[in-house]
Each structure stands twice: as C-alpha cells, then as structure tokens.
C-alpha cells in the first residue's frame, strides 16, 4: 500500500518533538483566537500567518493544520455561548446550541460539538488520506482546459450557493476578480491596474483582503452597532457531562453528519455551508422530537458540527491535490502555500511528499490534541468570551494592522487594508457575502493563466473547452448549478402569484 507507507512517513515527520510542539501551539492558538467573537477560521488563519513566517514550510503547515482545526472548535464555543457565529457554516450550530445554552445546557452542547467534531474530524481525515491520492491521479491527466473549467465550476458554486441573492454574490465575486487583476501580467510581464504605485506590481495580497474584510470590516460594523445590540452571554452551569440520553441522541447524528460533510467538502465545488444545512434538515426529518428543533435539540448541534468539521477536512482534498480552494479559509491556506513558493497540486505530492503527508498526519494528531485540550478546559476558553468588547476589538485591530504591515513592511498594505475594511463594512451592512470575493481574488489569476495556456496550446481555438469531455462536463455542471436554482425560484414565485 503506497498510501499507507506515505502516511507512516508523514507520521514520522509530524511526531518529532519539534513538530509536535508546533502542532500543539497551533491548536492552542487556533482555539484561543477562534473563540473570540467575530473571528472565524479564515481570519484566525490569516491573523496567525505572521507567526509562521520564519518557520520551515513543513513545521509551518503542521502548525496551520492545528490552527485550522482549533479555530473550528473555538468557533463552536462562540456560536453556542454568545450566538455570534464567526462564519456561515457555524450559523446552524448557533441556532440550537445557543438555545441549549439559554436552558443551562451549554456544557452539553459544547461537549457534543467537541466529541462530534473529533469523531467527524478523525473519520474525515482517514477519508482524506485515501481520497487525496486518488484525486492526484485524476489531476495528473488534467490539462489547462480542464483546470480552467474546474476553476469556473468552483467560482460559480461558491457564488451561487452563498446568500440568497445571486447579483450580490456575483458583485462580491467580480470585486474579488477585479482585485486579482492588479499586478504584473504573468504571460507578458506587463503591469496592469497598478496605478503607478510600485508596491502594487506584486498584486494585492489575499491575506490583506481577508483581514480587511473580516477583521477591520467586522470591527467597524460592531463599533457602529454595539449601542443597538446588547450581547447575552450564558455561562456554564450545572453538570458538565453528557447524560446517557445525550449520548444516545448524539452518536448517530455525528456519523450522519460526517457522511454528509466529507463528500460535499471534497467536491471541487464544495465548501461547508451546504453540508451543515443538509445535516440539520436530515436530523430534523429523522428525529423523534422535531418540535424541539430551534429550541435546543442536541441532535441539531451534534449533526451540523460533525458535518462542518468533516467538510473542513474534505475541503483539504481539492486544495492539496488540485490546488483548488473552495472556501475562504482554504483560499488563505493556498496564499500561505504561495508565500513559501509552493503550489499545491499533484506535483506537491511528488516533490514535497514529506510536507504533504506530514500535514495530513498532523491532522490526526491535531484532532486528538484538541479533544484533550477542549473537554477539560472548556471553562478556560469560556473566560476568553468575557473579554470586554472595547479591549477585544481594539486588540483585534492591533493584530490586524500588525499582520498587514509585516507582510511586506510597507504602508501601502495598510492603506489597502483600510480601504478594504471600509468596503467590508459596507458589505456587512448590505448583507453581501464575503467568501466569493476572497475565492475570486485567489482563483481569478489562476483561471486566467490556465485559460491563456489552454488557448496557446490550441493555437487560439476556443473549442478546446468544449471538445475535451472532462472540461465540457465541468462547465455544464457549473451552468446547471447557477441556472437551476434561479429557475426553481422563478417557478416558486409564479406559484405564489398564481
């Protein structure tokens, strides 16, 4: 077994005491930052990037794996106790999780989320171990035309699926694509949209955009809203342990959530919003107590949390094997890879196999560390939720500006951060999804390159995209994903008016 020996090699890399230390630091920092209200996994990874600048790539990515999983854990704590989900995939957890906290069952909600995440994370990591090499094998047969079609598919789904308004999603996507134009054209070496600013020739950094939209935009929004929106926090009280009934009602949703989450996450058009909603609906349909849903049903926390974590592991499959990010967090991870001069994709498995497999092995380790860290220490993390808001948001801005400045040590990045932050505030007020912008920014330039490569090979014949069967199939799937929901909505609207 090729895969198994590669995995064992990965463990031998990840289990050295040095790398184990970075994994531990990663999960701890990830949980600590992820717990802070308003900070989701994507921002956690972006904010913690500077910490890894001077590590060797393998240790840095082992630490990232820890941060990534840790941030997901931390996010559920915030959703449950404060009802402030840091990303769209935690919204479902917040529904019933917060209802449980209000009833004084916050500890049980946290426990089922933590154990469910562990179960789902572990199973999904096993699945990732075997799916990623398969995807690599498929990816090796891909040419530029197929890659371009794949990126179009990812862009359309990330856009069409998020939010309830297609033009808003598209506006966010095109804004990201427009930002991606800035810099030197890779094919001709010509400067585009640099506006005569030399610092812009390198392009606009994904990390600056993500921190601007998530951290600065969010802080501006909260500053503008905190007078009108008092927060309610529910402390942990009573028994900390799940009762027999809690276990009985949790274990099946954990497994079902994993089954829903991983495959959808692993699709090149995946993401984690759909699986969490699907898991919620499935549990509601199967439950003996559907009337409890929305009022603190434990299944409604167990299932979606498992689905969320399983899809997070799933998202890593297209990221590592195809270089294709399908969520904002994955887009930032990809940016981190690029910062080290690494390009995820089939070649990464060949050229940097100890990095890739060390990273995958460290996902197993991170999961165990998180369970050990979270079950007994839930009370400690809860204390972080009590940081007074003025200090919390002021601190977030300090770290956000520090991260943006230290990227290239110039003020231009801070100016971009400011502008993007104001735009992020506007998007938050008008309820425009942010993820399409970030995925567009990172995928746009890659799609352009593959598009032009494909045409260079075909000598300008546009039909390459439809004569290659895989490429045609991917493009048609993308088209269906956009058109079908629109048609369904129109039909429903007609039925209502008729």
């Amino acid at each position: 077994m090729d895969t198994l020996s590669a995995l064992f090699h990965g463990f031998s890399v990840a289990l050295t005491s040095y790398n184990l230390m970075w994994s531990g630091i990663g999960v701890t920092l990830g949980t600590a930052i992820g717990v802070l209200p308003g900070i989701g996994p994507a921002l956690t990874v972006a904010l913690l990037l500077p910490v890894t600048y001077n590590l060797d790539p393998t240790s840095a990515f082992i630490m990232f794996a820890g941060i990534f999983y840790g941030a997901m854990y931390g996010g559920s704590t915030t959703s449950i106790l404060l009802n402030t989900p840091g990303e769209s995939a935690s919204i479902v957890t917040a529904l019933d999780g917060h209802a449980m906290a209000r009833k004084g069952r916050g500890a049980q909600a946290l426990a089922t989320a933590a154990i469910g995440s562990f179960v789902a994370g572990t199973i999904a990591t096993v699945a990732l171990t075997f799916v990623a090499p398969l995807m690599v094998r498929i990816a090796l047969s891909f040419g530029p035309a197929e890659y371009f079609a794949l990126m179009v598919l990812a862009l359309t789904t990330v856009t069409a699926v998020l939010g309830d308004s297609l033009p808003r999603g598209l506006a966010s996507l095109f804004f990201g694509l427009a930002l991606g134009l800035v810099g030197i054209d890779l094919q001709t070496g010509q400067a585009r949209f640099a506006l005569g600013v030399p610092e812009l020739l390198d392009g606009i950094d994904v990390v600056v955009v993500a921190v601007g939209l998530f951290a600065v935009g969010e802080t501006l929004y909260n500053a503008a809203r905190h007078r009108y929106e008092p927060e309610e926090m529910y402390d942990l009280k009573g028994s900390k342990w799940m009762s027999k009934e809690d276990w009985a009602r949790s274990w099946k949703p954990w497994l079902r959530g994993t089954l829903i989450g991983f495959p959808i996450g692993a699709l090149p058009a995946g993401g984690s919003e759909i699986p969490t909603f699907l898991s919620y609906l499935t549990e509601k349909r199967l439950s003996k107590h559907p009337e409890e849903f929305g009022h603190g049903a434990i299944e409604a926390v167990a299932g979606p949390e498992a689905a969320n974590n399983a899809s997070a592991a799933g998202v890593l499959a297209p990221l590592l094997s195809l270089g294709l990010p399908t969520s904002a967090t994955a887009a930032i991870m990809l940016a981190a890879f690029q910062q080290y001069g690494l390009q995820p994709g089939p070649l990464l498995f060949e050229n940097n196999s100890s990095l890739v497999w060390g990273l995958i092995a460290s996902l197993y380790i991170g999961n165990v560390l998180l369970l050990v860290l979270n079950l007994p220490m839930a009370g400690v993390w809860v204390k972080l939720l009590a940081i007074p808001r003025p200090w919390l948001y002021a601190g977030i801005l300090i770290f956000a500006t520090m991260g943006a400045y230290t990227l290239n040590n110039n003020l231009v990045d801070l100016v971009i951060l400011w502008v993007i932050g104001l735009i992020g505030f506007g998007m938050r007020v008008l309820d425009i999804p942010v993820a399409p912008c970030i995925v567009g920014l990172i995928l746009g330039p890659m799609a352009e390159q593959q598009f032009r490569r494909a045409l260079a090979i075909s000598q300008g014949d546009l039909s390459v995209f439809v004569t290659h069967p895989i490429s045609l199939g991917l493009l048609l799937t993308g088209l269906l994903l956009v058109v079908v929901p629109v048609l369904l909505r129109r039909r429903r609207a007609k039925q209502i008016t008729a």
Binding site: P50, V51, Y53, N54, D164, S165, P167, R168, L170, A171, F174, F175, L177, A178, L181, D185, Q187, T188, Q190, R192, F193, V216, L220, N222, A223, A224, R225, H226, R227, Y228, R389, P390, W391, Y393, A394, G395, L397, I398, T401, M402, Y405, T406, N409, L411, L414, W418, G421, F425, G426, V429, L430, I432, G444, E448, F451, R452, L455, A456, Q459, G460
Partner: protein, 163 residues
C-alpha cells in the same frame, strides 16, 4: 429619513459603485498599452470580461433595488460617530506609524477603538495599549525577526543605547 429608505439608498449606491468600478476597469483596459507581439490572448481579455461582468451586475443591482427593494427590509441603524472614530484611528496609525513608531501609533489606535466601543477609562486603555504593542514588538521583532517600525523619531535614541 427612515431606515428603510436609507437602506434602499445604500442599495442604489452599492449598485452604482459596482457599475463605476466596471467602467473604470473597462476604460483602463481600453487605454492599456499592449507591448510585444500580438499573442492569441493578450493581457486585455480578462480585464475586459471582468469589466463587462461588473457593469452587468451593477445594472442588475440597480434593477433589483428599484423593483423589489432590499432583501432584508428591516433596515439597521448605524452609529456613525463610533464608526468614524475607528476609521480615523486606522488612518492616523498609517500616517504616524513610520515617524512615531508602532508603540505610539498602535496605542493611539487602541485607545480610539476602545472609545468607539464606549470605554472612557483612558488611563487603563493607554496602559493596555502600550503593553500590547510593546509585547507584539518584542515578540515579532526579536523572537520572529519581523520588522515593526520603532519610529524614525526614536531611532537615534535606540542607536545611542546600542553604542
């Protein structure tokens, strides 16, 4: 002005901004000098497509704002003074960072943001701001070899200390 009206106004402004960005990119693409031999697909095609997309989406948003109105009709109130305080804190930091350095500029940002969130404990906020910025400066400058500016105003002082 009711909040509903102002939200619809925001909606229109948003559509216009998207439209304007599209027109700007279209103009820049049009006037972009193309160097070298004509390749099958030059550096203009993608910007052209994106400009078209932006203009199209901008028009669509206008249409939606006029016909169906905002999706979320509740409308929200904005505390503009608090917003401006944070936004100008960030701007001040950019202006002051290289002369007064990370500690002073960062602390100022910290105090202004905390004030925007209603905290009036200036002394405590200054102390926390100084502690936080000093700590990050030490950890990232000494520990992780990243460079945060000490400030050109203070640099002679540091050079003096090192001698």
């Amino acid at each position: 002005m009711t909040t509903d009206k102002s939200l619809r106004l925001g909606e229109v402004a948003f559509g216009l901004a998207v439209l304007a960005l599209g027109v700007f990119i279209a103009f820049e693409t049009w006037t972009m000098p193309v160097v070298g031999a004509a390749t099958t697909v030059g550096p203009r095609l993608f910007p052209g497509l994106i400009a078209t997309g932006l203009i199209f989406v901008g028009l669509w948003l206008q249409l939606e704002a006029v016909t169906t109105g905002p999706v979320d009709a509740e409308g929200i109130e904005i505390d503009w003074p608090a917003f401006s305080l944070v936004a100008s804190g960030l701007l001040l930091q950019i202006v002051l960072l290289e002369t007064l350095g990370w500690i002073v500029a960062g602390t100022l940002l910290f105090v202004m943001t905390a004030r925007a969130f209603g905290s009036r404990r200036y002394l405590a906020n200054i102390l926390i701001g100084v502690a936080l910025t000093t700590l990050t400066l030490l950890v990232f400058d000494l520990g992780l070899d990243l460079e945060l500016p000490v400030g050109s105003l203070f640099e002679p002082l540091f050079d003096g200390l090192q001698k």
